[in-house]
């Protein structure tokens, strides 16, 4: 679960939830901020007006004596935490409930209350010269501070549930659709793997958008399956339609060859025609086979095949032919190494790779066939010490009908390595071409055979 969490955080519902939370937070902050600002200003103005009014009340006192008595009387009933009155009379005597003192840090309010002579908190003060002295009235701004706290609390109370609800429901939806997304992904993987009968089949309780995607995928897969079946039918029709005339040409050539009246040039032409026909048939076979391998799924017929013995058999088969052509073909013998596959097709890989090496390298070239293990994987490789393949062409030679410029003069239709690649893919194996310095190494990496 913890391992899947980061993946789930990247899903659409969670992203949407996060965006919603952000938008809601910004909007809440703006509106609450504006309300706070306006309220604070009106509080501020009200306090200022109160101060002016207070000052006007004291200013109506007839003389310094009356004023000092008024201040003394008011001070007795006024809490300095709310309202501070401080009058410095013309006699330099101080009246009031607190003293406004000044130091380097600014103004302070000092009272005669024991233990806490200095009052914390902000005040708004108004000072005026009255009756020959100086009167300072300060009103506490605590209400505004309290207001700020109230607003912050309101903000918290609205945002926290929003975030929790948005993220919670996002996570719930994400986890629920994650299962469906996994189902869709698995189906797509199966389809990509060539098993076109796979379907998503969304259940009625799926979210509508995912259900739509699921059923569209099913429709697409069905169309693909039908198209593949049609292609297969067409290729077998083409095979039949073309093979019959090819067969007839072979028959006519054979009948011609039976005649004793042919002069040597005619016989030579006949031999050439037969060679060309063999070439056509070989290309045709390879194309049909590649098409069938790429559209088919003969994995049902797979069985464990001992690749080491098969390689040894092919080396032994080709050894005299290689020797006659001046090549040195060697096989590294090992204990049996099994892969899951089709023996005939795996033999075709070996035959094609060995023939490819024989055909495209000059006499005197070493050709080594090896079967071994790399971890759990099985590696089949054919390495030659010939001219090799330039790096930029290595991927291309695996393609259908690709031929390097310098191999245009040697026989072959350019299908051998493509067929190898098709068969390898069918077996879940990968093909890599590397520089054998000098020469070319073609290696197939097979997954290990299950027990």
């Amino acid at each position: 679960m913890t391992a899947r969490l980061p993946a789930i955080l990247r899903t659409t519902p969670i992203r949407l939830a996060l965006v919603l939370v952000a938008v809601f937070s910004v909007v809440s902050l703006l509106s609450l901020g504006a309300t706070y600002f306006i309220t604070q200003r009106s509080f501020d103005q009200a306090i200022r007006a109160d101060l002016t009014q207070d000052m006007a009340g004291f200013a109506s006192a007839p003389g310094p004596r009356a004023l000092s008595q008024l201040v003394e009387a008011e001070s007795r009933v006024t809490d300095p935490a709310r309202l501070v009155l401080s009058y410095l009379g013309p006699d330099l005597r101080h009246y009031g409930n607190a003293v406004v003192a000044r130091d380097d840090e600014g103004y302070h309010i000092i009272t005669d209350i024991p233990d806490s002579p200095q009052i914390e908190g902000d005040y708004m003060a108004l000072t005026a010269s009255l009756g020959g002295g100086q009167l300072t009235i300060a009103r506490s701004l605590d209400e505004i501070a309290a207001l700020r706290e109230v607003f912050l609390r309101v903000l918290g109370l609205t945002l926290i549930p929003t975030i929790l609800i948005a993220l919670g429901s996002g996570l719930f939806i994400a986890r629920r659709s994650a299962e469906h997304v996994t189902t869709i992904g698995r189906t797509l993987d199966t389809l990509t793997g060539g098993r076109l009968e796979a379907r998503v089949r969304p259940a009625p309780n799926w979210p509508p958008d995912l259900a739509t995607i699921g059923s569209r995928i099913d429709t697409m897969a069905a169309a693909q399956q039908a198209a593949t079946a049609a292609i297969r039918q067409v290729s077998s029709d083409i095979a039949h339609d073309l093979k019959t005339p090819i067969q007839r040409v072979a028959v006519h050539l054979a009948e011609l060859a039976e005649r004793d009246t042919l002069d040597p040039p005619a016989r030579q032409a006949l031999d050439k025609a037969n060679d060309e026909l063999d070439g056509i048939v070989a290309t045709f076979h390879a194309l049909l086979q590649i098409a069938q391998i790429e559209t088919g799924s003969p994995k049902a017929g797979f069985a464990p095949v001992d690749l080491a013995t098969l390689a040894a058999d092919f080396c032994e088969l080709y050894e005299p032919a290689a020797d006659d052509a001046g090549h040195v073909l060697t096989c590294e013998n090992t204990a049996p190494i099994r892969v899951l596959g089709d023996r005939g097709l795996l033999g075709q890989i070996l035959g094609n790779l060995i023939e490819n090496a024989l055909r495209h390298t000059p006499a005197g070239t070493d050709i080594r066939v090896a079967v071994g293990r790399d971890g759990p994987d099985v590696i089949l490789s054919v390495t030659d010490s010939g001219p090799g393949v330039p790096e930029e062409e290595r991927d291309l030679v695996l393609r259908r009908l690709y031929r390097m410029d310098r191999s245009r003069t040697s026989p072959g239709a350019g299908l051998g390595l493509n067929l190898v690649a098709s068969i390898a893919t069918l077996h879940g194996a990968t093909v890599t071409l590397t520089d054998a310095a000098p020469g070319l190494r073609i290696a197939l990496r097979f997954p290990p055979a299950p027990h």
Partner: protein, 223 residues
């Protein structure tokens, strides 16, 4: 032998039938699956040569139907397809051998001969003879005119294969399939090179040639 050829293409069918008749076989030629079914049930044949794609009743169904009715006449399929899958399909349907179009007549003729004699004679000898050549299967020794020949295991296997089928042509693909167990058409002359090495030991030091090349078909040791 009495053979039934079922082939819808007239050129190919006539050619096969003519070739087989020239070899002295009695051949019936039909061009569709239904006629073939009637013909094959009405009279006895030694080998059936059946094209896989036929009008009215395809070759696979024809042979399956015959096998279902207890008819065990060996059948050779001719096919335009020729993939491993098709081969397996053909053999599971009751076919005994499989030949991909286009084929050389020699290949067909050799395979028909092999099919006709496959079932009854399982030779149990411990020594095989041809002229002055003797092969001792128990001690895995070969002598010619009293001289022991030193053969590689594969050379021994090829020679044994030809000796067991004296008088019958063995084509290159038949040798590949039966001696090497490889169903693959090599582009290079791999079988020829093995035969020529075998000949260098078996024939070259002696006056007469035992392993004959049959042009356009394969190899044979005469009875």
């Amino acid at each position: 032998m009495k053979l039934l050829v079922v082939e819808d293409d007239n050129t190919t069918g006539t050619y096969i039938a003519r070739g087989l008749r020239e070899e002295g076989h009695s051949v019936d030629l039909v061009t569709n699956g239904r006629d073939a079914l009637i013909q094959a049930t009405a009279s006895h044949y030694d080998v059936l040569i059946v094209d896989r794609m036929l009008p009215q009743l395809d070759g696979l169904t024809l042979v399956k139907t015959l096998r279902g009715a207890g008819n065990q006449t060996p059948a050779l399929f001719l096919t335009s397809l020729g993939s491993v899958q098709d081969r397996i399909e053909g053999l599971t349907a009751g076919g005994d051998d499989y030949l991909t179009k286009p084929f050389a007549y020699g290949e067909l003729s050799a395979r028909v001969a092999a099919l006709a004699r496959r079932a009854p004679t399982i030779e149990q000898e411990t020594t095989l003879h041809a002229g002055d050549l003797v092969m001792d299967l128990l001690r895995r020794r070969v002598t010619r005119a009293g001289v022991e020949l030193s053969l590689l295991p594969r050379e021994f296997a090829i020679l044994e294969h030809l000796l067991r089928r004296k008088g019958r042509v063995q084509t290159r693909t038949m040798l590949l399939e039966e001696v090497w167990d490889i169903s693959f058409e090599p582009m290079t002359n791999v079988v020829e090179t093995h035969i020529s090495r075998l000949r260098a030991k078996v024939d070259r030091p002696f006056k007469t040639e035992l392993i004959k090349t049959v042009r356009g078909a394969g190899y044979r040791i005469d009875a």
